[in-house]
Symmetry: C2
Subunit: 303 residues, 2 copies
């Protein structure tokens, strides 16, 4: 890496650079906490101020708006809810982009649309800075324990500059390519999970309907060619009647909707994703949006 | 276990009992081989005699028909192709059932229909013996290495009697319940795999279409919540252009057809299984029936 302090790359990596963190929900709280623990000065902002209080108590400084934060920080991470929230945080009147200083790096870790990531990257570039899209997987547990998988798209030099900070938050940190590539990679992750969850719930429903003991079935099938993270970690929750969210149904629907829209633009027909998306929407319509993705099983039981 | 030699349970477990093995294809060859290696006298029969030759050279004795075998053996394993082949081997004119001695245990390890397994169990019982359905997973590798997962349905005592022989062929040996339960469990396995394969191929197709490097995508997604046996073992084969069969498309279609029919009888709607079955049938119609299940990717590439 370059040592010239006029280079944005080295400036952003400086441990004394104030870091901004927007969105201190279940994920952001753990992630911003790791930056604080590492001794970095951290500014926080989130829509509902109380959600940032524990971080403020640990030494984080409150920013009144994203724009306010952009005036203090040349490295800002964001992880908010929906693409509309990302739009507001970046393009809103009090958003990051209008107020950002030259050489700033903005990193959106929300799972959001690849096209929006590309628009942010362009706007950041026009303002003399850079942007990365860096969605994560690993859930609140991964965020808390600093073991997230982080899929990064955008400028390669900016990625190298931010990598030391990613290392505080995650373990499996992979550069996927230009702007939007992190989001596209996350879409691959969610497309894979979508059909896997359908298969898992169908198998458990079949097991029950055919009079088998589903736990005994899992003993036979979990460790072989049918095995998956979901079968190991979520199927036992289904059987225990535990539908508490590790990952919310409503957020999974958001992700699959983005993936479906993106696939359509790419001219790809993804029937498995369509089945999953339709089914999860039915599930949400029946009032299960705030349960975990394993709640899909409810639908197959009601059939 | 009981020691009274008049008990069928102990008679079948006797290491000197001649064992019959019908179906010496890719799977059966490895499995029957383990019985021979353990020193058991083994009779073999298969439709195409040459396929049994290596076993005969290793000391197995040739039976002219299933009925002939049933006259020599009170424990017979079968693993053939399709349910129609199972019908023939059991109910045919020269089949096992008509010729079986009392106290015989017949074990069908073919992946076949639960209803057929129940019919065989009834017929065996009427003839003074018992039958187990014991399909496997783990492929030719598992058969060769004796590491199969064996899912067993039928009489519990018969299972206990046969277990020492199952142990020669597999590692994960689980009793699932009464007649047909082994087949039902295998259907759960295949239902799980069906949607998992769809998700895997859709994700890889999306990765390519969106301009990502699919291998780099796998680095991000294989070890997290999207992870599966298929993603670890089959996705790299797809990317390497290796469509050689670990498990044949045509056999997977057979299994999914059985599962779909069985689900219908149970009044279950399984849309993920339907998508997979339709797609694999399209794949077979395009001439890919003799490739491995990872060949599903061809379809998504052609979209």
């Amino acid at each position: 890496m370059k040592n010239d302090p006029s280079q944005p790359t080295s400036r952003a990596a400086d441990p004394n650079t104030p870091i901004g963190f927007i969105g201190t929900g279940v994920m952001g709280n753990g992630m911003a906490g790791h930056l604080l623990e590492a001794g970095h000065p951290v500014f926080v902002y989130t829509r509902t101020r109380e959600k940032a209080e524990s971080l403020v108590n640990r030494g984080a400084r409150w920013a009144e708006t994203p724009a306010d934060m952009a005036r203090h920080c040349q490295l800002v991470f964001t992880i908010v809810g929906f693409p509309a929230d990302v739009e507001e945080v970046y393009f809103g009147e009090q958003g990051l982009l209008a107020a950002m200083q030259p050489d700033t790096i903005l990193v959106d870790m929300t799972t959001s649309s690849p096209e929006l990531a590309q628009r942010i990257a362009e706007a950041a570039s026009e303002n003399g800075g850079r942007a990365l899209d860096a969605p994560v997987s690993g859930g609140d547990k991964g965020a808390r324990e600093g073991t997230l998988s982080i899929m990064v798209g955008g400028d390669r030099e900016a990625f190298d500059a931010v990598r030391p900070f990613f290392r505080l938050m995650g373990k499996n940190i992979v550069y996927q390519g230009g702007p939007g590539s992190g989001q596209h990679c996350k879409m691959c992750n969610q497309i894979t999970i979508a059909s896997t969850m359908v298969g898992l719930c169908e198998a458990l429903a079949y097991a029950e309907s055919s009079g088998l003991d589903p736990e005994t079935v899992l003993q036979s099938i979990s460790t072989g060619a049918a095995g998956s993270w979901a079968l190991t970690h979520l199927a036992p929750k289904v059987l225990a009647g535990d539908f508490a969210p590790g990952f919310y149904v409503k957020h999974f629907i958001k992700d699959m909707s983005i993936a479906a829209g993106s696939a359509e633009r790419l001219g790809l027909e993804l029937p498995g994703l369509q089945v999953a998306l339709e089914r999860y929407r039915q599930l949400e319509a029946r009032g299960y949006g705030d349960e975990g993705t394993q709640a899909l099983f409810h639908l197959f039981k009601e059939d």
